[in-house]
């Protein structure tokens, strides 16, 4: 689904909970700030000569669908506010729930100043990986097609290099 730049429609199916949108927006805003900060990094990182090691966390922290198990199906929307170096900023979020799982979502870019708009656009392009997807445990799947389990030696070598890079 495309990101939504237009004004929000009237709230179509806002069921009996205000907590859910707040919880989701809190997570989304945290990610947005994370995106914002990670955008800032390269400029201050030019003197770092250690090898750039990236490693995927086996069990990354839970996304929001564990929070929402008790909520009714339907569409929800909310605004998130956060503070940037350029002042207050705002981002809109709409999600669609089915059986307690977010099955679709869109972000509304509401920032006015160019840097914040740019970060929100970047966020809108990349946030879905954090909110769409279903827990393997919840689906009772016994088989998953994916990248191979990394051999032990590889992981140990990565850990060693990271330790050396820090010392």
């Amino acid at each position: 689904m495309e990101e939504n730049h237009s004004e929000p429609e009237s709230k179509p199916d806002q069921k009996n909970s205000n907590f859910l949108p707040m919880a989701v927006v809190f997570v989304i805003a945290a990610i947005a700030i994370g995106v914002y900060l990670s955008q800032q990094k390269p400029a201050t990182h030019t003197t770092n000569t250690s090898p750039a090691i990236e490693i995927t966390n086996e069990k990354s922290s839970d996304t929001v669908d564990t929070v929402v198990n008790t909520y009714k199906d339907g569409d929800y929307e909310a605004l998130g506010q956060y503070t940037t170096p350029g002042g207050q900023s705002e981002i809109g979020l709409r999600i669609k729930l089915e059986k307690g799982i977010i099955i679709d979502s869109s972000v509304e870019i509401r920032a006015n100043d160019p840097p914040s708009r740019r970060f929100q656009q970047e966020f809108a392009k990349n946030y879905k990986q954090f909110v769409i997807g279903k827990k393997i445990d919840d689906l009772n799947l016994t088989k998953v097609a994916g990248s191979s389990l990394t051999p032990k030696g590889f992981n140990e070598a990565i850990a060693k290099i990271k330790a050396e890079a820090k010392s």
């Binding site: 069990k59 191979s148 070598a157």
Partner: protein, 294 residues
């Protein structure tokens, strides 16, 4: 339903074989021994991580050598894919992988100077049943070797009257006559390994996946373009379905490197390509329930 299964390590990952046919303990033990010994033989022939493998020996010897019986299938595939991808899919990437740090000691630190791999013509004289390696190179079958071993084990099971089974090589899977008619398989979310982005239903076919998420070092992951000497970043994962796991495995890597139409003209397979913004492309035959929206 009782499921007999056994696991072992090979090709750098954990393999699990599930047998759904009713079999005695004795038969299961026999099958398990046969499969493990086949996997071990395969690595003795084709692993680039084993200094004593046949493949490393012929690179050191640089003499005309006779190929093992099962080598034709995989050499033919690599030769044809080399041709249709203009050398972008190449077993000679092995030399570059070692230089860049993905070697048998997992040093994971690139050498100061990195070289493009040699061309097939300059390095390999392949004329079944003979082969001669002409320079000091490292041949790497990492992009399809695991799929080939799945096919070999599949045939071994069938030859031993096992008809209903699943082979899972760390996320690359073949399922034969599943008792439920079709096996339900999740598609791993490469950005959150406790999640799936969809479900497929599979029988008498193989699904293989590739993703740059696990084997990463320096600026590389395990798929490297020999022309740019870099790992593709616009695609974050691919899934492919084919009758043969060898084909499915090779295609899942090739999709990172060349346009899908080149591959579809040459091989029968279905695909799902996940891009870094979580948009996707899939072939019409890739029948999955996806939790993604384009």
């Amino acid at each position: 339903m009782d499921i007999n299964n056994f696991t072992f390590e090979a090709t750098g990952t954990v393999w699990q074989i599930d047998i759904y046919d009713p079999v005695s303990k004795k038969i299961k033990a026999k099958i398990s021994d046969l499969v493990k010994s086949e996997a071990d033989n395969f690595e003795k022939k084709y692993s680039r991580f084993r200094d004593d493998s046949w493949l490393r020996k012929i690179s050191r010897l640089r003499q005309k050598s006779k190929l093992p019986k099962d080598a034709k299938t995989i050499f033919d595939l690599y030769q044809n894919l080399y041709k249709i991808t203009n050398g972008i899919f190449t077993p000679l990437i092995g030399s570059f992988m070692e230089e860049s740090g993905y070697d048998s000691n997992y040093s994971l630190i690139p050498k100061i100077s990195l070289h493009h791999p040699p061309t097939w013509k300059n390095a390999i004289e392949y004329n079944y049943p003979y082969i001669q390696i002409k320079q000091n190179v490292v041949i790497d079958f990492g992009a399809a070797g695991k799929g080939y071993l799945i096919d070999i084990i599949k045939n071994l099971l069938k030859d031993n009257q096992i008809n209903s089974f699943c082979i899972d090589a760390g996320g690359d899977i073949y399922v034969n006559n599943h008792p439920t008619g079709k096996m339900q398989i999740g598609l791993e979310n490469p950005k959150n390994l406790s999640e799936v982005i969809g479900i497929i239903y599979l029988n008498n076919a193989s699904i293989c996946a590739s993703s740059g998420n696990r084997r990463r070092w320096d600026k590389f992951h395990h798929i490297i373009n020999p022309q740019t000497l870099s790992s593709p970043t616009d695609i974050i994962a691919t899934w492919t379905i084919a009758q043969s796991a060898l084909i499915a495995d090779a295609m899942s890597t090739c999709l990172f490197l060349v346009d899908k139409s080149i591959l579809q003209n040459a091989y029968n397979f279905d695909y799902l390509i996940l891009k870094k913004d979580f948009s996707f492309e899939k072939s019409s035959g890739f029948e999955a329930e996806l939790f993604l929206k384009n």
